[in-house]
């Protein structure tokens, strides 16, 4: 059940991305093109997701722990730092340039478009570079 629940969640997430149009970079870029061929559809994706997730999370977290683990793994930070804003700003530029964010890019990978085949490995490299950059920072601080 542990494995099946996670597999099901991934499948559901990917199907949602495809159905919503998020896995189509042209649609994402049109959503972001307010002064051109604007397509407001994707506002409904975020709206629909939050409409379900907000009450769902509230309900689930009334339980002491999740079904298969001893505790919820929730972010605890509430402070603002430069990393959060600079990181989000950098992410937004990439999202606008390619029309892909991480979930849709992975979902679109089996479709084998040339652009996707360039985007996904580059994204993985970006993740590894950022991870090494942030962990070495932590090491330096510890010394």
């Amino acid at each position: 059940m542990r494995i099946l629940s996670t597999l099901f969640a991934g499948l559901l997430f990917g199907t949602g991305l495809i159905l919503s149009g998020m896995a189509n970079p042209a649609k994402v870029q049109n959503f972001l093109d307010l002064f051109g061929t604007w397509d407001p559809s994707l506002a409904f994706v975020m709206g629909g997701a939050i409409m379900v997730t907000a009450p769902g999370f509230w309900f689930v977290q009334k339980r002491a722990k999740p079904l298969f683990h001893d505790a919820f793994h929730l972010p605890t930070r509430t402070d603002f730092d430069a990393r959060l804003i600079v990181g989000a700003a950098t992410f937004g530029v990439g999202w606008g340039l390619g029309g892909f964010c991480p979930g849709p890019a992975v979902t679109a990978l089996p479709l084998g478009a040339i652009g996707t085949l360039w985007f996904v490995p580059a994204m993985l490299v970006g993740i590894v570079v950022a991870k090494y950059a942030t962990t070495s920072q932590r090491k330096t601080l510890a010394v």
């Binding site: 499948l11 049109n30 093109d33 397509d39 907000a54 769902g56 683990h69 793994h73």
Partner: protein, 144 residues
């Protein structure tokens, strides 16, 4: 290139994404943030406990398009630029930025906002703003 306005399909797709986030939270107590899930399977390994479930979730994500094809008889509609340089740079920025900023559209934009996290609201407003500006520059300043 224009795309059709699809409020109902997009809303329903959003609902499925939300249900997936609830399943992951209820079963494993984890945020359905794809950049976080991807980063957990890549070096340097920090969160080894989350590794197996991350791999399984990604397999589910990769199976969605083939399943869509089996059920509908058609591949999902998509138009992706063939510009290798553009997509390569975009991928680097997306990967780097989402790990640096602790989340992407799913972790901050859906799960974080749903939890009422001020950090996620700030991050979402920031990446939406730079994405709007980027597409404006790409399509209306540099050329379309």
């Amino acid at each position: 290139m224009e795309t059709d306005f699809t409020p109902f399909a997009s809303l329903l797709g959003g609902v499925l994404i939300g249900l997936s986030a609830i399943v992951l939270m209820a079963a494993h107590g984890r945020i359905a943030g794809i950049s976080g899930i991807l980063s957990r399977i890549l070096p340097p390994m920090v969160d080894k406990a989350g590794l197996p479930q991350s791999i399984i979730f990604l397999i589910g994500l990769l199976l969605a398009a083939p399943l869509w094809f089996l059920l509908t008889g058609a591949a999902p509609v998509q138009v992706v630029s063939n510009n290798a340089l553009l997509l390569g740079i975009a991928g680097l920025l997306v990967g780097f930025g989402s790990v640096m900023g602790n989340g992407c559209t799913s972790g901050h934009g859906v799960c974080g906002i749903s939890r009422g996290s001020a950090r996620s609201i700030a991050a979402t407003l920031t990446f939406m703003a730079t994405a709007f500006v980027t597409v404006f520059v790409l399509r209306h300043v540099v050329g379309g």
